[in-house]
């Protein structure tokens, strides 16, 4: 909301300095977004007097007007205006002047005659203009005066940010003035006396008193004015409103002055009585902005005997609208039920100033006051205002009362303020304490309970005055739950292993699928996505990671090793589930910048090794096997399935098919997807063995094995032989030659009770070799 500093003077007997206004508002919870000076451009515009007017020698529609300036030579400018004769005083903008519409004046040559600057009409100065003629000045300012003097000097304009609760009662100059009066202890100017309605019959009827508790309608004949008074125009223009027609301007002015929207109808176009009623389903009306409004049964309308003439509290209709010819008006001042107006405003998407005010709740008690203020202002501007018929329907609502509980206020705020401190603070905001009760001002629809009063007291006295304490409750150590600790540890382990954590947004669309993964059968769709490619919530994490790989690869040729631990989203009937997933992706291509990397065809073992380490580190009850079906996008020869202890597939690990990887700008991409990860609560006790004091005996066993056999099988066979002192078994070499596939295992023997002799080891080795031979695996000849 824009606030004019000057306007405050209508309600405050003394207006404080702008800096004080800002700090007072801040304490009340109103943020001042910006402060600007209005009117600077009017400093250049100068009062001059016409000394001669001649026709333009080369153009019939133009004239040459010579004007006298104070302290300057005579100036002759070209004008197309029909007025401005000798002796008239006019507003002159010399070259270099900025006009309100943004133009900067220069000396232009018009039909061969230079014209330095311009003589101005009211419209060109940003004010009301019915003729388009030059603005003839009739006041007392001396020649050479600036237009800024005519508009009363510059003004300070604040941009205020009102929270929704304050917007209920602070969206007006009066509202802000009351806040300032409360916090800075200033005196308010009393409001106008209320209009005295005559209760004439046959003027209006309220069919729905719940939707419209108070409805005032008063008839006036307005004659003798063309323009709104300049002081009012200045205030309206300063806050960025257009000035249009006196009756419209005055209602606009009262709207922003008192926070009370009003509406005027042309009496000539209304067939009495006026009815306040719900619209009939299917009823249609043309609104002031020319749009057609399909009314609904819960819209409240103002109608005459022909049909609706206004969408109540939101916008007038075209049929009974005020025009330049209007002489007799019905002025409506009413109090509507806020939620009804809010609903209609939403339904029809009509956020007019009136709707915004009524939709938040207005002050019923201001209904007759605002009506009288309108009459007063119209009279002030020299209009003949003749009172006609009038009526007001409905009872003024009683002020609500709640219990006054100063103890509770003190205990909620944590202060020792006295009852008097508290009731004085409330009184400054027009709450009246009466014994055990407190009555709430008629516009404070936001206040219903003691908690609300706490806020009011704290605002007026100041949050700074509340002492700083800490909760007295006994301190118990806070805790993360084990599942979360586990997830955090999982993140740490991948980071320690050289993988970078990423955070992706969970929005997805099948149109983004390069690999198709849906780890849940039924996705959750977003009804109002920001973009088509974000129409649903992801059903798998890995595709997001692969996009990150692609994004990075398209930017630079560098290694990528990333992971994310985040939920995916599944639909289960009418509910949603959010299971956590881990996804890892890594480029396996060899990089020139690697000092000495793993050979490309072994790089996947780094990812696999990391998983194995993580499994060990977190005692994850999962393992990898190679005999299960794999997703089609996976490399058939370089992938494995992850199983849980129940032998159910919970993930996969391996390389993408190179063809798929190339879609992400890489030759080879290693991936891991774990879609069922759980913290294993069963810790194994005593898992770390004591070191043996006896020496190790190391034997390397080179075998020629069948082409199809795997190191896994080989290991299994050796381990299943249960060699008594075998402590460690490790692959140290594997290659294929003319003789077949060759594997070298390093076997480490060690006893915890004695030093092993060579012959003891030989016996165990021999046993193993024999079993291996039975499986077609021979010792390699040297």
């Amino acid at each position: 909301m824009k606030l004019s500093h000057r306007w405050l003077a209508r309600h405050l007997k003394e207006v404080p300095e702008p800096a004080q206004v800002a700090s007072g508002l801040l304490q009340m919870g109103i943020e001042v977004g910006s402060v600007e000076t209005w009117g600077e451009i009017y400093r250049e515009i100068e009062l001059v007097e016409v000394v001669e007017r001649r026709p333009h020698p080369h153009a019939d529609l133009l004239s040459l007007v010579t004007v006298r300036r104070a302290l300057h030579e005579l100036v002759t400018v070209v004008t197309g205006a029909n007025n401005g004769f000798t002796g008239d005083r006019l507003w002159y903008a010399p070259p270099g002047t900025h006009l309100p519409d943004g133009r900067v004046l220069e000396t232009v040559t018009m039909r061969g005659i230079p014209s330095p600057g311009m003589l101005l009409s009211a419209a060109e100065l940003g004010f009301q203009d019915t003729t388009g003629d030059l603005w003839i000045y009739h006041g007392d300012l001396p020649l050479g005066s600036r237009f800024i003097d005519e508009v009363g000097g510059t003004d300070t304009i604040y941009e205020l940010e009102l929270t929704p609760n304050l917007a209920v009662f602070d969206q007006s100059v009066l509202g802000i003035a009351r806040e300032l009066a409360a916090v800075l202890e200033l005196e308010l100017t009393p409001l106008s006396a209320p209009l005295e309605y005559r209760q004439d019959p046959g003027v209006a009827e309220v069919k729905d008193p719940l939707a419209c508790p108070v409805y005032g309608l008063s008839g006036f004949e307005v004659a003798g004015i063309q323009n709104s008074p300049l002081w009012m125009q200045v205030l309206l223009v300063a806050i960025g409103l257009r000035v249009i027609h006196p009756v419209v301007d005055v209602t606009n002015f009262v709207l922003w002055d008192l926070g009370h929207p009003m509406h005027a109808f042309d009496q000539q176009r209304v067939v009495l009585p006026i009815e306040v009623r719900k619209a009939a389903e299917g009823e249609v009306m043309i609104l002031l902005d020319g749009s057609e409004c399909q009314l609904r049964a819960d819209d409240l309308v103002i109608a005459d005997q022909i049909g609706p003439i206004a969408l109540a509290g939101i916008m007038g209709g075209q049929r009974a609208a005020i025009s330049a010819e209007t002489r007799q008006v019905w002025l409506e001042s009413a109090y509507f039920n806020a939620s009804g107006i809010f609903l209609s405003m939403r339904t029809h998407r009509l956020s007019t100033d009136a709707a915004i005010h009524f939709g938040k709740g207005t002050d019923p008690e201001i209904v007759p006051v605002a009506a009288q203020a309108t009459v007063d202002i119209l009279s002030d501007c020299g209009a003949m205002v003749t009172k006609g018929s009038s009526t007001i329907i409905g009872q003024m609502p009683m002020r609500r009362r709640i219990r006054f509980q100063p103890d509770r206020i003190r205990s909620l705020l944590g202060v020792d303020w006295t009852n008097q401190d508290i009731s004085q603070a409330l009184d400054r905001l027009r709450f009246q304490v009466d014994g055990d009760w407190i009555s709430i001002p008629s516009n404070r629809h936001d206040v219903t309970a003691t908690e609300d009063l706490c806020e009011e007291v704290a605002r007026v006295i100041g949050l700074d005055m509340i002492p700083v304490t800490v909760p007295h409750s006994p301190n118990v150590p806070g805790a993360r739950n084990q599942e979360v600790e586990f997830q955090e540890r999982l993140r740490d382990l991948w980071v320690e292993s050289g993988y970078c954590e990423v955070v992706t947004r969970p929005f997805w669309s099948p149109s983004r699928d390069v690999v198709t993964m849906a780890d849940v059968p039924d996705p959750v769709r977003i009804s109002n996505p920001l973009r088509a490619e974000e129409e649903m919530l992801r059903t798998s994490l890995l595709p997001h990671l692969l996009e990150v790989v692609g994004y990075n690869r398209s930017r630079r040729d560098q290694p990528v090793a990333i992971f994310e631990l985040a939920p995916i989203y599944a639909r289960k009937q009418d509910r949603a589930e959010e299971p956590m997933q881990l996804a890892v992706a890594e480029i396996l291509d060899d990089y020139p910048q690697y000092p000495k990397g793993l050979p490309e065809n072994l790089a996947i073992y780094r990812l696999k090794g990391t998983l194995e380490w993580v499994i060990r580190r977190l005692n994850l009850e999962i393992s990898t096997v190679t005999d299960r079906d794999l997703p089609a996008f996976m490399h058939p020869g370089r992938s494995a399935t992850v199983l849980n202890t129940e032998k159910r597939t919970v993930g996969f690990l391996g390389e993408l098919r190179p063809r798929v990887a190339s879609r992400y700008h890489a030759k080879r991409i290693g991936v891991l997807s774990l879609f069922d990860i759980h913290h294993t609560k069963s810790a194994i006790s005593g898992v770390v063995p004591s070191p043996s004091r006896y020496p190790e005996v190391v034997r390397d066993l080179s075998l020629v094995v069948p082409e199809a056999s795997t190191v896994g099988t080989l290991n299994r066979i050796v381990l299943d032989a249960h060699l008594a002192d075998l402590k460690n078994l490790r692959l140290i070499d594997v290659f294929s030659g003319q003789w077949g596939r060759s594997v070298t295992l390093r076997m480490v023997f060690q006893s915890n009770t004695r030093t092993l002799t060579d012959s003891e080891v030989d016996i165990q080795m021999g046993h193993a070799i024999e079993i291996l031979r039975g499986q077609g695996m021979m010792m390699r000849e040297r």
Binding site: P164, W494, L530
Partner: protein
């Protein structure tokens, strides 16, 4: 030969100094203390002397031999060092070349800031609580005193999903209700709830998905002063002792009174700049006393207990800690950008 005098040992020193290889030193050594060396021979000649004289001269000669041995060894060590230097300098590396750094990963900055906050609140005795991201409108709105058609629902444009009565939660505040329900009436309730939240916004300072941390304390006699104290302690812990705080009345449907906390603008240090619109302050969080309706919906009697709650944007704090002016890159996952967060922030734990 007579007893060696100091002049003779001076000769030895000179000879050693003149020797430029260990071989030459060995030759000098043989001449003096070798098997046929001068001192060795003199010692052998002592056997002809009377016992008294033999002892006297023996002491002198032994001392001389010790000194000679020491001189020879010293010179030998000196030469060995020189020879080794020549050798090692052939292995010289250009030590101005940057070292090969270990291949490490890095936690996402949002994870790190989240943990910083969590650790801080854990130390203050808060426990972690969680709620679903796909939330019922009851928990996300109604239970938090935001009824249908409440203007506050305009404040946060929500993503709706194709599940009846569900939204992507627009804040972590629903965990206030869930946390109270989980506590089943026990006191105190003292939780923080970190998590992802969603709003239909996408620009430099608003992301459709972002992270919040919600805090809730419910107990007998909790006051607005307790909220101020807790928030000020938090601000000092997070942003340093030099930071000033300011409280302003504000509005949230689920707190009453509602309070926003501002802290000194990091960009200008409080003198006023573009970042803080000239005020010297930036808003850091919203808070307030828990609204009685919310306490009731969580199963607590507002006449018996009171509470405070606050919500903090993790992105916003990350932007401040790392000095960011755009949060979009945080979700673009350009690794070069993410790895640039490896610099020290002044906080060993971050």
């Amino acid at each position: 030969m007579g007893l060696p005098d100091s002049n003779e040992l001076k000769d030895l020193s000179d000879q050693l100094a003149a020797a430029s290889t260990s071989l030459q030193v060995q030759e000098v050594r043989a001449e003096w203390i070798g098997r046929r060396g001068r001192i060795t021979l003199a010692l052998k000649g002592l056997s002809n002397l009377a016992p008294e004289e033999r002892r006297r001269q023996g002491q002198i000669l032994n001392a001389a031999r010790e000194q000679a041995t020491r001189l020879v060894d010293e010179r030998l060590e000196q030469l060995r060092q020189q020879e080794e230097d020549v050798q090692l300098l052939r292995e010289r590396l250009d030590m101005t070349i940057a070292g090969v750094e270990p291949k490490v990963g890095l936690l996402h900055p949002l994870t790190r800031v989240r943990r910083l906050l969590e650790d801080l609140f854990l130390r203050m005795g808060f426990s972690l609580a969680y709620g679903p991201e796909i939330e019922t409108t009851w928990y996300n709105f109604e239970a938090l005193n935001i009824p249908e058609n409440h203007p506050a629902r305009d404040m946060q444009d929500s993503f709706f999903v194709d599940l009846p009565g569900m939204v992507l939660r627009t804040h972590t505040s629903p965990v206030q209700i869930r946390g109270m329900e989980a506590a089943k009436g026990l006191l105190p309730v003292k939780i923080i709830a970190p998590g992802r939240v969603y709003r239909r916004d996408d620009d430099a300072t608003h992301a459709p998905m972002f992270h919040q941390i919600e805090a809730l304390v419910v107990d007998r006699g909790i006051t607005l002063g307790d909220l101020k104290g807790t928030l000020m302690a938090m601000a000092t812990e997070l942003l340093g002792k030099s930071i000033a705080t300011r409280f302003r009345p504000s509005y949230f449907p689920f707190t009453e009174p509602s309070v926003e906390m501002d802290v000194t603008c990091a960009a200008c240090g409080g003198t006023g700049c573009r970042t803080c619109k000239g005020t010297g302050w930036v808003e850091i969080l919203g808070s307030g006393l828990v609204h009685p309706v919310v306490l009731q919906n969580g199963g607590y009697d507002p006449q018996e207990v009171s509470g405070f709650a606050f919500g903090l944007g993790i992105e916003r704090l990350a932007m401040r800690i790392f000095g960011l002016d755009d949060l979009r890159p945080l979700y673009q996952n350009d690794l070069e950008y993410l790895m640039a967060f490896d610099r020290y922030t002044g906080r060993p734990m971050l």
